[in-house]
């Protein structure tokens, strides 16, 4: 490893074949696993104890490298049910320990092989706590993760840094377009249960706009009796309304809502004006885009919210839900809100906005992930609330 200027940190023990390079020039070496190669991404941390498979397959993690704060990652291996999308979207993985052989009755594959199969490099033996505190104090840096089985000797840090700094990061990036499906498709899979229970057959039609949708959202909708059609992020208002939805769902997704909003806000505003009674429910990026469409700004947070323990207060009920979260951008609701729009939820960690609703219309959205996966199921009822609105609307018709 060659570089000019500052020292590389921690080139301690042998078998160093992976490198985590931060935009400030900090170079941290470790033991690589997963795929080989070199990836750029914004470095974030996630504090969930369980659910690494769901996290890595959450499309909202596109262009991010995830530091897992939980020390023992990979314990339960990988199984076919815990996928949140068609593949791994995170750019890379940072862990305290190398992955162990899995032990769980559902495990079908080990973590290492799976990452390799999904072309995702990882680095272990990292002091993830100090790294996390650094992200907390200084914000999410752009980072490069390199895993080279032959070692790091040929890496020129200066060049790598140049490449890293040339990358723009998440701000201004329309990543939803990258991760969204290309063609519309139908969804019918229901929720995972360790035992089977009777569920309804579909009686309502929901169109879900895929900005990077997590499968558990679709499973929830299907579970509650919805026929779900997933359409690409770029679908326009005509295309969506032509499908005659009983309700519209705006999914989670990666990147800067302002960038994706350039086309999505337009679409949404048209739908809301052409079909004012259509129930709309948004999650995460979908929430931000709804907010922007209603005239609220978004901003980038220093290190975002990524975890499964975030308390969210619902103002109307006074109830607190422990929620799963994954976002780097947020709605600016401190200023005067547009007429008829109000903030419905707030984070009890930092007071930031967590929900939005339009007065007298069945339109609402949340910043957190009620579909959980991973994380607590406390806010599951939002799906029922949405389907309830859909059913009421049909009755009124």
């Amino acid at each position: 490893m060659k570089r000019s200027g500052a020292q590389t940190q921690t080139p301690h023990h042998g078998g160093q074949n992976a490198l985590l390079l931060l935009e400030d020039g900090t170079a941290i070496t470790g033991a690589g696993f997963g795929a080989h190669g070199r990836r750029l991404g914004e470095l974030c941390f996630n504090t969930a104890h369980s659910g690494y498979q769901e996290i890595l397959t959450d499309p909202s993690y596109a262009d991010q490298i995830i530091t897992f704060t939980f020390p023992q990652i990979g314990n339960t291996g990988v199984n076919p049910e815990d996928l949140e999308s068609r593949g791994v979207f995170a750019r890379g993985v940072v862990t305290r320990l190398p992955p162990p052989q899995p032990s769980n009755w559902r495990a079908r594959q080990n973590f290492n092989d799976w990452l390799r199969e999904h072309d995702t490099p990882a680095i272990a033996n990292i002091d993830t706590r100090t790294l996390t505190r650094r992200i907390r104090d200084r914000g999410s840096p752009r980072a490069m993760l390199v895993h080279q089985p032959e070692g790091l000797a040929d890496i020129n840090i200066d060049e790598a840094l140049e490449e890293l700094r040339a990358w723009n990061g998440l701000k201004g990036a329309d990543l939803a377009a990258d991760v969204s499906c290309r063609e519309a498709y139908d969804w019918s899979e229901k929720l995972w249960r360790s035992d089977s229970a009777a569920v309804k057959s579909p009686d309502r039609h929901i169109v879900a706009v895929d900005f990077g949708v997590k499968r558990n959202i679709l499973r929830h909708l299907a579970d509650l009796g919805a026929r779900v059609t997933v359409v690409p992020a770029a679908a326009d208002a005509e295309q969506i309304l032509a499908r005659e939805p009983d309700g519209l769902f705006l999914s989670n997704g990666p990147g800067d809502p302002a960038a994706t909003g350039r086309y999505a806000e337009q679409t949404l505003r048209r739908i809301m004006s052409e079909s004012p009674a259509l129930p709309i429910f948004g999650i995460c990026l979908g929430h931000q885009i709804l907010g922007r469409a209603l005239g609220i700004d978004t901003y980038k947070m220093p290190f975002g919210h990524h975890g499964a323990n975030h308390p969210v207060l619902e103002h109307a009920s006074g109830q607190v839900a422990i929620t799963s979260q994954n976002h780097n951008f947020c709605l600016q609701t401190e200023n005067k809100m547009p007429d008829g729009v109000f903030a419905s939820h707030a984070s009890l960690f930092d007071g930031s906005n967590e929900g939005l609703a339009v007065r007298d219309r069945p339109v609402f959205s949340v910043q957190f992930h009620p579909e959980a996966s991973p994380g607590p199921h406390d806010a599951h009822n939002l799906f029922a609330r949405f389907l309830g609105a859909v059913r009421r609307r049909n009755q009124n018709d």
Binding site: Q9, H49, P71, D82, S103, R129, V320, F349, P376
Partner: protein
């Protein structure tokens, strides 16, 4: 919602004496509860019979009743104090059961006292196993197939229905007491009877066993608005079938996917809702089939528990404090996260560290009891460790246990290191204590991980972690101590202590430390911040971790620039070293803080008040080894001024490492290691007493068997044998003759390693006296002399004692005071010391001196209203006795009796005869106007109401017959009918007493004494020891008495005390009085000199 203003006075119930399954974790929760209620402005009334608790310090409540936790007493307290509400969830099963009793009897309703924290119907649903199962099945949560039974016939039918093996779970018992496992129809009836007897309502759940399944616990908190959080998940490494208190556990759960975990979380919350726990914390236990993930609910506790104490320490989330606030009306979002200082309490802690809890057992003290683990808890304490990874935490946990292990190392097996000698069925197939160590040993001997999992039920993931450690052991042994930093760091990262590395690499611990320091290797200190580093934490609650490669800024200790002192705690509780020492540590901390000196606590016992995040200024949750203490000292002395370490409050634990600390340059404050050595070293101590002209029982030292035989002959039988440097009389034994001596001495030497065995003449018919005193290095001051109720020869921790003295002449007590002072001054003790005397007439013998805080310091502190450990701390920090301004001699404004409680009912087959080896787990204090009433209250506090009449069974040795006759006469006059074995009966008859002869068991005629006890004809047993050989019969009598809750006295003096108490009970009802009222004149009463 804001706090309730419609209630003013709240009654808090403590947990009473420390017993297995209910230890100092309830002092921890009780302290948090009392503090919180006072902060919220409520008037707090407290009842707890355990004087060694911090919660019974008068400043923690407005009215503190050190009184028995019985319905009668509680009613009297309620009548006096007129509380508006009762908080029953902080005092374990004892408090819950008492609250339920008061509720059922209608007292609470009559007096207008509201149960807060848990409603009666919710408690009933959670505690009654049948109601619980019904409730769970209504909400679709499955339990193991089971049926409730109260009679044997019903139970056999239940057995037929659910199938073998079965777990027997008595309703309403604590720590699974009385529960058991039956593997076949033969052993089922006995196991069922045992379980039924243990249940206060006589019902038992006969449950299909899911032995071998994975076991999990979730700590749940719910508020009045139905906000629920899971504070922590705990995974038992030992599978189902072993009580969770006896299992090695890890937090958070390691082998669940998110989907499985969330399903469990949903079920736990649904359980609280259905049961109706409106506010507060509960613990919910689950079993998971490792083959297909099937999940069953096992049970729930609608109160704070041992697990919630563990969860609080593991996460930094103060469950008891939060639960208390919820009980008075707050909601979770209104409560601040006090550890991090950021955000509300309505969140779920995130951990980026791993916590392992290991149980501590004392089976060797219960000869005759089989060392097997079941669903009835047997462990007497626990250690918790925190590490950056699971292997690191696991190795630290074993180093914390103080059972001679330096990490995950061989438990020492017969038959050498070969694979042939290791039978997996024998060591892994049975739930023996330390089975995880056997699993590691199996790996060392080349047994495959799959075999280990098959036999033991340990999850393959846990076995694989053991394998990582064992593989590294091999590398260390072959490579030796690494020369380079990276390699050495790798071993530290895997949790190897210096001592363990030294053993593996064939070096000394000092060499390893020197090498490590030369390579610049030190651990990082990290904060237990509740948030995995997401938010900064203002609380210095720290643990050490060895990262593979720490980044700059890894250390979060943020050492202050103040003057500071470290307090070394007592480590895991064990028999002989328990809550009393933690009490002293907490007082030392309080004294330091009052002096403006930063108090830095080091301890590894999660049950304690000392390890509460706000007890000390700084808290290091670390093993009490020289390595860990010295690294903390190094870090702490990098800024400010570290004055040294306090080693005299944590029992024997800190003293054991005191020399190593001093050798490494860390000053041990107060009494020097040199003085400690004089007190421990036989010859030096003997010389000291000789120079003071004080008498000592004839005695000698032996390092080999022949020498012991010679010494014992010289001293004369019977003799007391004991290894040096032990606490609680471990391995101490009274030996009657040479055969016994020879057969036993080898094992004793083995127990204490290189230390010699002491042989003392046993002074028969003497009265023992315990003295606690303070010394400033030049002048000593005696706090009090406690007279034992039992004769000398019974361990002081097991003997009841009286303060002030009861039968001894004042002149003897004066002389004892004088001798104590001279000893302390001659030794130059700085701080507390304890002297034990034996008195026979005017003869006074010095038995031993302990230059540290003793077990009786809390008792005396409560009796005198003087904080002795705080005074000691001030002396250690340089003040003199004159500065403290203590009166010449102080007496309590009442009579106090200390009584010990024993766990014999959990160790089937163990003899209940008291002897020189301590076996009690805890103590109670009875306070009243005179000895008799105080003794009565002490018995009540033990859960042994005085028998009002019935059969008094008496069987005494020959020498005791004359005195026993007088006692028998008293029993008869109190309305008892006398039963006696033939010898004793003959003597009674010859003295004109009416007595029924009862055959001994071996005499073959029936009904024999055991039959009579089983038929309920015996209300009390007086049984004094005979020669060791003749003891077989009486062993079983005493065991049965313990099992059936029949008061059983094994000394004549205890019998006499009982008679006096029964007389007192006939004359007047019990009165209650709070400590605050006793001491209301502000000064301790009764100046004598």
């Amino acid at each position: 919602m804001p706090k309730r203003t419609d209630i003013e006075t709240i009654l808090v119930l403590g947990a009473g004496p420390i017993v297995i399954g209910q230890a100092c974790e309830f002092d921890y929760s009780g302290v948090q509860a009392c503090r919180t209620l006072k902060e919220e402005g409520y008037r707090v009334v407290l009842i707890n019979s355990n004087p060694a608790t911090v919660m019974t310090d008068p400043e923690l409540a407005d009215a503190t009743y050190i009184e028995p936790l019985t319905a009668e007493i509680a009613e009297r307290v309620i009548a006096r104090e007129k509380p508006d509400a009762l908080l029953p969830t902080m005092g374990g099963q004892t408090a819950l059961n008492l609250a339920m009793r008061l509720h059922r009897d209608g007292h609470l309703e009559r007096r207008g006292v509201e149960l807060i924290g848990a409603r009666a119907d919710a408690i009933a649903r959670a505690e009654d196993r049948e109601l619980f199962r019904q409730a769970m099945s209504e909400i679709g949560i499955r339990s193991s197939p089971a049926r409730i039974a109260s009679g044997l016939e019903e139970a056999m039918a239940a057995l037929d229905e659910v199938g073998l093996p079965v777990i027997l779970r008595p309703s309403f018992t604590l720590g699974g007491r009385g529960g058991g496992v039956a593997y076949n129809r033969e052993e089922f009836p006995a196991a069922f009877q045992r379980a039924r007897e243990a249940s206060p309502i006589g019902t038992v759940l006969v449950e299909k066993s899911v032995i071998g399944w994975k076991e999990y616990e979730l700590e749940v908190i719910r508020d009045i608005r139905d906000n629920c959080i899971i504070v922590c998940s705990i995974e038992n490494i030992d599978p189902m079938g072993i009580h969770t208190g006896d299992s090695v556990t890890v937090a958070p759960a390691m082998t669940l996917t998110d989907k499985e975990y969330q399903q469990m979380r949903d079920a736990a919350i649904a359980c609280l809702r259905r049961i109706g726990v409106e506010t507060g914390g509960s613990n919910v236990q689950f079993a998971v089939n490792p083959r297909d993930g099937e999940m069953l609910i096992i049970e729930m506790n609608p109160r704070v528990s041992r697990s919630s104490a563990l969860a609080s320490k593991a996460t930094g989330f103060p469950i008891a404090r939060v639960a208390t606030r919820l009980a008075v009306g707050y909601t979770l979002d209104e409560i601040r996260n006090e550890v991090s200082g950021t955000g509300p309490a309505s969140f779920e802690p995130a951990l980026d560290w791993v916590v392992v809890k290991t149980p501590r057992f004392d089976f060797e003290k219960f000869h005759g009891a089989e060392a097997l683990l079941t669903s009835s808890m047997k462990s007497v304490g626990e250690a918790m460790s925190v590490g950056g990874t699971f292997p690191e935490a696991l190795q630290k946990a074993y180093a914390s246990l103080e059972i001679g292990l330096r990490g995950l190392e061989s438990p020492g097996l017969p038959g050498g290191g070969s694979r042939q000698h290791f039978e997996p069925t024998r060591f892994l197939g049975w739930p023996v204590p330390g089975r995880l160590l056997f699993a590691a040993e199996a790996l060392r001997r080349g047994i495959r991980p799959e075999t280990i999992t098959r036999h033991s039920g340990f999850d393959p993931w846990h076995v694989a972690r053991l394998e990582e450690i064992v593989r590294a052991e091999g590398e260390i042994a072959s490579e030796g101590l690494p020369e380079d930093a990276a390699r050495l760091r790798r071993w530290k990262h895997l949790g190897f202590t210096d001592a363990r590395l030294a053993a593996l690499a064939g070096r000394s611990e000092d060499e390893v430390r020197a090498r490590r320091h030369a390579l610049g290797l030190h651990p990082s200190y990290r904060r237990i911040d509740t948030s995995a580093g997401e938010f900064p934490s203002e609380t210095p609650y720290l643990y050490s971790a060895w990262d593979a490669a720490p980044l700059p800024g890894a250390d979060e200790a943020e050492v202050s620039d103040r003057r500071k002192v470290m307090i070394l705690g007592g480590g895991p509780n064990r028999i002989g070293q328990g809550i009393e020492f933690d009490y002293c540590c907490v007082h030392a901390v309080q004294a330091l803080r009052a002096l403006g000196i930063e108090a830095i606590m080091v301890n590894c016992n999660p049950e304690t008040v000392s390890t509460d995040y706000d007890t000390a200024d700084r808290l290091y949750f670390e093993p009490l080894t020289a390595e860990h203490v010295l690294e903390i000292a190094r870090r702490e002395s990098s800024r400010g001024e570290l004055l040294g370490a306090l080693a005299q409050f944590g029992g024997q634990t800190p003293l054991r490492i005191a020399r190593a600390l001093e050798a490494a340059g860390l000053p041990v404050l107060g009494t020097s290691a040199e003085v400690i050595d004089i007190a421990e070293d036989r010859d030096r101590f003997h010389a000291l007493l000789k120079s003071l002209n004080l008498r000592q029982p004839e005695g000698g030292v032996a390092r080999a068997t022949e020498e012991a035989v010679r010494e014992a002959r010289r001293v004369g039988y019977p003799v007391l044998l004991r290894p040096s440097y032990v606490l609680g009389g471990r391995a101490m034994r009274r030996v009657e003759n040479e055969d016994e001596l020879v057969s036993w001495i080898d094992s004793a030497v083995e127990v204490s390693g290189e230390h010699p065995v002491l042989i003392d003449s046993y002074i028969a018919d003497a009265i023992e006296v315990d003295v606690d005193a303070l010394c400033d290095g030049r002048r000593a001051w005696v706090a009090g002399a406690m007279e034992h109720v039992e004769e000398a020869g019974v361990h002081s921790g097991d003997s009841a004692s009286s303060f002030p003295h009861d039968s001894l002449e004042s002149s003897v007590i004066d002389e004892i005071h004088e001798q104590s002072r001279r000893i302390g001054e001659a030794l130059g003790v700085v701080g507390l010391f304890n002297v034990q005397f034996a008195c026979r007439g005017d003869e006074i013998y010095v038995l031993e001196v302990n230059p540290r805080a003793s077990r009786t310091v809390p008792f005396l502190t409560k009796a005198l209203g003087l904080p002795l450990a705080r005074y000691a701390t001030r002396l250690i920090l340089g003040e003199t006795l004159d500065d403290l301004g203590l009166p010449a001699r102080v007496l309590p404004p009442f009579h106090a009796v200390k009584e010990a409680i024993f766990p014999f009912d959990r160790f089937e087959g163990a003899d209940a005869m008291l002897g020189p080896e301590m076996r009690s787990t805890g103590e109670v204090m009875g306070i009243d106007r005179d000895f008799a009433s105080a003794f009565w209250k002490a018995q009540l506090a033990l859960g042994l109401p005085l028998p009002g009449g019935g059969g008094a069974f008496i069987s005494v040795n020959h020498a005791d017959r004359a005195e026993a006759t007088e006692l028998a006469r008293e029993f008869a006059s109190l309305g008892f009918s006398l039963l006696a074995t033939s010898g004793t009966a003959g003597h009674f008859e010859s003295c004109g007493l009416e007595v029924e002869v009862v055959p001994k068991v071996y005499e073959g005629r029936r009904p024999h004494v055991m039959d009579r006890m089983l038929s309920g004809d015996v209300a009390l047993v007086l049984n004094t020891p005979s020669g060791r050989r003749a003891r077989g019969d009486s062993d079983s009598i005493r065991s049965l008495a313990c099992a059936r809750g029949i008061p059983c006295f094994t000394t004549l003096r205890a019998g006499r005390a009982l008679v006096r108490a029964m007389r007192a009970a006939k004359t007047a009802p019990l009165e209650v009085c709070s400590l605050q009222d006793y001491f209301s004149d502000g000064e301790p009463a009764g100046e004598k000199d």
